[in-house]
């Protein structure tokens, strides 16, 4: 760690001398900055995607996990008796905090969005719903299903797992995609910086030859290039991250749409995450240039 810190320090102050030995490189420097900016811009979105889907997965898992439903489908004259029987079973089941049969009005309210307000719901053979709220321990779904099957033939227990699982799976898959994107972006940045560094090394072959001749060590020569590319990538990283963060700030608010989507944006401390992007860009450039430079230098006498 100390060695790493001293390298960082050398990058900043130790080698102004090594900085000046390589001539300024004009517009190709701007291309490096642009590349780093573009990649950082994309990286911020990939991070936003990961964070948002993580939040979404938590949200879905949390909302759906604590509640379950028992549905009673029985001939009209037995519904009331079976509902009572099911409630008795539920009350004696460990892990059930609350079990409550829906009133007819509540069931109607649930159906209104689908059938419209004018449908005479009471005339239809609609199953009775019982809302089950689990307590902290959670309940043993398999055991409950068996007991209900034995005592209440018309009862079907639904713990929403079947809804939850694909949603949570989709959300975590999206999160993985976001993380993979970040890795790919970092890799592409490293590749582009390596190409730029190699062409800079080739363009300055004569200077490298002179430096070698007068007794400069490889690390001195490499540092001249590493320093440049690290600062360019960092500057580009700042530019890209700032622009992407501004873009996220001005995303339309999805809360009012009342939906499912929690929005591709940051919440709370997440807003600090884009700060890491320029440092990541700088570090990638540092590592890529150092590797490229030392490798090229090793091939020279």
């Amino acid at each position: 760690m100390n060695a790493f810190l001293s390298r960082i320090r050398a990058l900043f102050d130790g080698d102004r001398a090594s900085h000046s030995v390589v001539p300024p490189s004009g517009y190709t420097a701007n291309l490096t900055v642009f590349t780093a900016a573009a990649m950082s811009f994309l990286a911020v979105f990939a991070i936003a995607l990961s964070v948002a889907t993580d939040r979404l997965a938590d949200h879905w898992a949390g909302e759906l996990a604590r509640t379950a439903t028992v549905r009673i489908s029985a001939p009209a004259d037995q519904v009331a008796a079976q509902t009572q029987a099911a409630l008795r079973v539920l009350e004696t089941t460990p892990g059930v905090a609350e079990a409550r049969a829906f009133e007819a009005e509540e069931q109607m309210a649930l159906l209104t969005p689908w059938f419209g307000p004018d449908l005479p719901v009471e005339t239809l053979p609609i199953p009775q719903l019982i809302e089950v709220v689990e307590d902290e321990q959670g309940l043993d779904a398999e055991g409950l299903k068996l007991r209900l099957a034995a005592e209440v033939p018309g009862a079907i227990f639904d713990d929403h797992t079947r809804w939850r699982r694909p949603l949570v799976a989709a959300a975590s898959r999206l999160q993985t995609l976001g993380l993979v994107s970040i890795v790919i972006i970092a890799g592409a940045t490293a590749a582009m910086i390596t190409l730029a560094a190699n062409s800079a090394l080739a363009a300055n072959a004569q200077i490298i030859g002179v430096l070698r001749l007068v007794g400069a060590r490889d690390i001195f020569i490499a540092r001249a290039f590493v320093r440049r590319f690290t600062f360019r990538a960092f500057a580009g990283g700042v530019l890209g991250a700032v622009l992407a963060t501004i873009a996220l700030l001005f995303l339309p608010n999805t809360e009012e749409a009342g939906g499912f989507l929690t929005g591709l944006s940051f919440v709370g401390w997440n807003w600090l995450l884009p700060l890491a992007v320029p440092f990541l860009a700088g570090f990638v450039a540092y590592a890529a240039t150092r590797f490229a430079a030392l490798r090229v230098l090793k091939g020279l006498t």
Partner: protein, 223 residues
């Protein structure tokens, strides 16, 4: 200082140089001569470790060159000053920065008084801020010599230092190299200019090496 033991350099399947044996002792003054393309530059490159012998052994300051790491070679080179035929500089930096390059590249301080004295010694005190492309051939040669000696090296190797300059200037460069030799430096000058070798005979006790037929021979004292 530099010792070659039966060293050879093989290029493209044939020996360019072979059976080289030589021991450069401290404070000696050698000329290296021979026809163009005989391998004078290659011989010097073996001495300053830009090339490695393909056979035999080269020892620099008592160490076998093949055992040195890249950083050790860099460190050893700071004890050897090299003046090239085609002087290479960093064209975007002024003369002073170029002359000081061996110091800055190895993290050493530049003493402004020493630098001023050095530039005066090679007669470039009026050109401190000139860029290398603005200098004439003779000025470039003298700048290269100043750069070669700024680290106070033990050995100075010069490859055709008078190749691009007139007789007057070559005499001046020779005097500078003779002065360095009198200060105890080991000097080796590759040249095909026999007049220069003759002129040196009056000033310094020099020996002449000759490369011909891929071999290194000690030429007669009566050149």
């Amino acid at each position: 200082m530099i010792e070659l033991k039966n060293a050879a350099y093989n290029y493209g399947g044939r020996d360019l140089l072979s059976g080289l044996s030589l021991k450069l002792s401290p404070g000696s003054f050698h000329f290296l001569t021979g026809p163009s393309g005989a391998g004078k530059t290659t011989f010097l490159k073996l001495c300053y470790m830009e090339l490695q012998a393909t056979a035999g052994q080269v020892n620099v300051f008592g160490k076998d060159v093949t055992t040195l790491s890249r950083d050790e070679i860099a460190k050893t080179r700071s004890r050897i000053g090299v003046v090239h035929q085609e002087c290479k500089f960093l064209d975007h930096l002024p003369l002073t920065a170029n002359v000081c390059l061996p110091l800055t590249a190895t993290g050493r301080e530049v003493n402004p008084d020493d630098l001023r004295d050095l530039l005066a010694w090679v007669g470039l005190d009026g050109h401190a801020d000139s860029l290398p492309p603005q200098l004439s051939g003779g000025e470039r040669q003298r700048a290269a010599l100043a750069r070669a000696v700024i680290m106070a090296p033990d050995i100075i190797l010069a490859d055709e230092p008078t190749g691009n300059v007139d007789w007057e200037m070559s005499q001046r460069l020779l005097r500078l190299l003779v002065e360095l030799n009198k200060m105890g430096k080991t000097i080796m000058i590759a040249t095909h200019d026999l007049n220069l070798i003759r002129a040196a005979k009056n000033q310094v006790n020099s020996r002449v090496l000759r490369i011909s037929n891929h071999k290194l021979q000690l030429a007669g004292a009566d050149l």
